[in-house]
Amino acid sequence: MKPLRSRSVRVIVAAAAVGSLALTGCSNNDSNTKDESKSKSDAAAQSKPVTYGDAAASTGPAAEVPGAKPGGFINVYMESDMSHLDPAQIYVSDAGQFSNLIHRGLTNWKEDKDGNLTVVGDLATDAGKMSDGGKTWTYTLKDGIKDATGNPITSADIRHTIERMYAKFLFDGPTYVQNWLSGNDYRKALPDGPYTGKSLPDTVLATPDAKTVVFKFQTPQGDLPQALAMPGYSIVPKKGDTKEKYDKAPVSLGPYKIAEYKSGKSIKLVKNTNWDPKTDAVRKQYPDGFNFTLTVDQGSQTKRLIADQGEAKNAIQFTDSVEPTQIKDVISNAGVKARAVMGFQPYVWQMTFNLDSQVMKDKKVREAITRAIPGKRMIAADGGKYGGELAGGLMGPTLPGYDPNYDPYDKVKKPNGDLEAAKKLLEEAGIKKGTKLTYAYATAPRSQKQMVIIKEVLGKLGFDAQAKEIERSTFYEQIGKVKNPYDLYMTGWGQDWPSPSTVITPVYDGTKISEGGSNYSHINDAQVNEGIQKALALPPTEAAKEWEKVHHRIVEEVLPAGPVYYAKQIQLSGSNIGGLRYSTEASYIDINNLFLKNP
């Protein structure tokens, strides 16, 4: 997915951290309540391998939700506005969740009642037909797809969607497909996108007829169907493209369209009458629409939904979570708890070591710090057991191949850390007392609380620990500099789709070390790099074992980052909301199934 850096995520993290102060303070009360948080056993559904669906799985309409009724408007609470509405600028969670309501791509995620995921064709008839060992992928468009203006969607619109992502004014969206098609300097292949009449050659992207799209890559890309399911690759019809202005008024292809958008205040969605359920295997159109209020802070959202009065009965949290200080009020009340959804988020918090730092070059030092960090206290600073779960590895419970028993550094077995083992390792490494280490952290309350813990632990290990605060909005940019002056920093990373390729490749692939890149530790291990290339060429089910090998090599042999905790999510809805479930794929309330019990 990305490091936690978007505006909305920053707000969420800040609010969660503020709230966690109180939650941590209330830990005694918390322990009196039965632990209903999600544990590793609940993560099973989230870690099954993804499958690619055929035409039958991709055919609409989507299965009915038992008892669902049509009609009414669902109220949606958000703390702030969506970062973007133009699909090509959408990368972060809030807009991604919103995208499901109005946008459609070539493929999409279909989730069964147990959370098992299949990539199915959305506008395409299936998840895609692979040939040439994964270098060529062919998609055929379904019949009868129209945008909200009634304009039929053809392969020209798919070509336009991909080509416009080469234009300079689009810079916030995903770049996977562009990189695979045209290399890392992809913009040079089509400067200004398709707007000056130029096109990608047929050897890269071919549209032989109105229904067919062929992607041709230099290397096999087994994950293409998953990449195309990202909201960022949703289709922008050529006819309705307004370039920069599209971000404020996109043309809808999904079940809803924007009736009114007041930037920073509210959005009203109404039914898109040109959306045909027979063409959609995932989405439904039960409510008449959605009323988004973009100014309700996390605390108010939780209070309103716990109280469940008036308009709040028809309301949901969208991407914000229950305010940590009010979690106890949610879980201790059976009526309220029944309206909550819980699950793991894709983010894995890890103590990242700068491998260019002289002190950090010794693996024993990295292992010592990894073992010494008290995971339980770190989680307590982030909302307690409803905010996270101790991590044994660097692949979270939302990834296929996640192993709940994997714990090479006893991080789960010893939640308070193992200072003695750590000291022994440092002795073996010959580290002198008073060795200076600089720990960088962001100016968010959670990070500040965790900094105190880290500094204390490093002090106990005999280091002269210096804490360097970085303004939170530029934290990832600062630590993303190849020659950054810090020895270690906490980072959070989540998948873009449920494949280790979107975690291991961007964060631990040595060939990806670049200015502003996300290989924050600067790990460059030949075996890891080779394993990544091998896994990338395989379809998901075959790749799983290869990814596991790479993961073990990273954690056990190289250790560029020490696992700390897996982030968790808890959200609430009003009592009149039906079809409530947690989406494994989105890590939020599943927006596709919702209806009003009494419209």
């Binding site: 505006r7 506005d81 600028q89 004014f169 404020k248 920073g264 205040k265 530029t474 890149g517």
Partner: protein, 325 residues
Amino acid sequence: MLQFLIRRLTGAVVIMFLIGAFTFFLFYTIPQDFAELACGKNCTPENIAVIRENLGLDKPITAQFWEFMGGIVTGRDFAVGHCPAPCLGVSFDSGDFVWESIIDRFPLTLSLTVGGLVIFLILGLGSGMLAAWKRGTPVDKFVSGASMVLSSFQIYFLGPIVLGLFVYSTGWMDSPKYTSISEDPVAWFTGMLIPWAVMATIFTAQYTRMARSTMIEQLQEEHVRTARAKGMRQRYVFFRYAWRGSLTPIVTILGMDLSALLTGAVVTEFTFDLAGVGRLAVDSSLTKDLPMTMGVMLFGAFFILLMNIIVDITYAYIDPRVRLA
């Protein structure tokens, strides 16, 4: 009077320019790459360069300044379209025109201000005068005591209590919500009732205390005593002599309060999850959205200057001595 007005308005324009220049150079010369702030996941140096170009941050600072100032008078062209005068730039965060965002938020802030103002002026001045009229009686003691207690309350304290009581616990009212008065006057009124009531409670208490003390002060003035000595009726002396004199300090404070309220009752808007100018100011400063922060600051400065001019004119109307001076 006309000369006075022209002089004040010219001065106001110069002050506005100086404020604009000061804030622009203050904000834009701090060592911070704003393109980095606007950069998302793919924050490569290339993308930062693209954003810098898109935001016009690659130009010399003086060129950016004159473009900004010129835009206020003539409008400017941006990638997202023509920004008509008074153009205050484009938000780094949302890509919206700053002026449009402010004007879009202003009706809410204006509704909050005007609604609250009507209530607290009527109740505050009324009860203050009553207390002064009944000075020393149980009525005075009750009004003074209540106003003292209530004026020590804050919106962030009283607001959640009222919300908890009327919205979350009993469900008697819905959460505050702004609806345009032209769209649905009833929804506008009911949606703003709680914020008005909370704002008015606190302001009423303050204006009660102010009105009482200034009235008592005025009633002890020599010209009031002279009027009484001449045998004028108590009611006539109270309203014609003392009331008019007591208005001067009240108008001064009211001018300051109004300019603050009109530029955004930040705490009120945050307490009740309302998206007014105050919230816009806080949000933009938190996200380091410089054009928006500057725009709201200039908007605020405009109201402070405007209210000062209005207060001066009101003085002249209330007090002939000012007019002559």
